[in-house]
């Protein structure tokens, strides 16, 4: 085995596996697409087969699915209220998709689709456009009232409106970058530690190995928390868009 090269970011490369083009658009199947399919497929399998028997007193796998459902439902009801259940499918899908995509990266040889800014950016922009459409449909021209907080002297308004608009634009950006940076940083640290473990002599190699085990446990924890944070922030933004007059 040759000397391992120090390329910590090499496993984030998106390589096409099957080149396809449609009307000049490149829709080739890359490893990112493949892993998205794998995570969606495994999420479907898990959700379907764990709740297949539909027992009134749930068995162990069904308890997991029920816990997932209750987690999102309590979050929706607490943040949006009674009519929040209309947005439940979107939030549940977001949570399960982000969770399984994050966890796929921790499987050996796996690739986390959410470590690509384009994947997380698409999810964040989807939620953002959804909240804009919600707000416009709900309040028509009152949409612009969101940028002007109540009870403000008019001279301050001129200062506050650009600030409010900037913070409004910062929401999808921070949503996307938060998830992307967490996944990328975690895997990069794991790659660097693994490199140390590969090149260190045998009497020292237990330290990187031990640390990578502990850090993988931390990564699983962070994957779950980041999925939850993405969902709860989307929930809060939807609630914000539905603001009651």
């Amino acid at each position: 085995m040759g000397e391992p090269r120090f390329e910590p970011l090499s496993h984030f490369e998106v390589r096409p596996i099957l080149e396809l083009t449609l009307f000049g658009m490149d829709i080739s199947i890359s490893n990112s697409v493949l892993w998205i399919w794998l995570s969606v497929f495994s999420a479907l399998l898990f959700l379907l087969f764990a709740s297949r028997r539909g027992l009134f007193i749930p068995d162990r796998m069904q308890v997991l699915v029920e816990m997932l459902y209750l987690l999102i439902r309590d979050m929706v009801e607490k943040n949006i209220g009674k009519e929040g259940m209309a947005y439940f499918p979107l939030l549940f899908t977001l949570f399960v998709f982000v969770l399984f995509c994050n966890l796929m990266g921790l499987v050996p040889g796996g690739f986390a689709p959410t470590s690509q800014i384009i994947v997380t950016g698409s999810l964040a922009v989807t939620v953002f456009i959804f909240t804009i459409i919600l707000r416009v449909v709900r309040h028509k021209w009152g949409f612009f009232r969101a940028f002007a907080p109540e009870g403000l002297p008019p001279v301050l308004l001129l200062l506050m409106i650009p600030v409010e608009i900037i913070s409004f634009i910062a929401r999808p950006i921070s949503l996307a970058v938060r998830l992307f940076a967490n996944m990328t940083a975690g895997h990069t640290v794991l790659a660097v530690i693994a490199f140390f473990g590969l090149v260190s002599p045998w009497f020292v190699a237990w330290a990187p190995l031990g640390f990578s085990i502990i850090f993988t446990a931390m990564e699983i924890f962070i994957a779950i928390i980041q999925a939850y944070i993405f969902t709860i922030l989307s929930c809060v933004y939807i609630d914000d868009a539905l603001a009651y007059e």
Binding site: L9, S174, V177, R178, F180, A181, N182, T184, A185, I222, I225, Q226, Y228, I229, I232
Partner: protein, 75 residues
Amino acid sequence: MDSTTWIPVGMGLAAVGMMGSGLGIGYIFGKMIEAVARQPEAEPVLAKYAWIGFALVETIALYALVIAFIIMGQG
């Protein structure tokens, strides 16, 4: 001496920004420990908020890491 020799310096400076998030995480969990010491029954409610706050603060450290990567890619 061209501009690419300053790239590692830039990355190192970007990493200094993580100091703030270290302080932030210490503050959150220090307050959490204090609050649980005063009222142990409040732990489940507070723990949820503590982990949400932790994730948000850690994200700032990761923004610094993203800037370091952007600088690294400039060379």
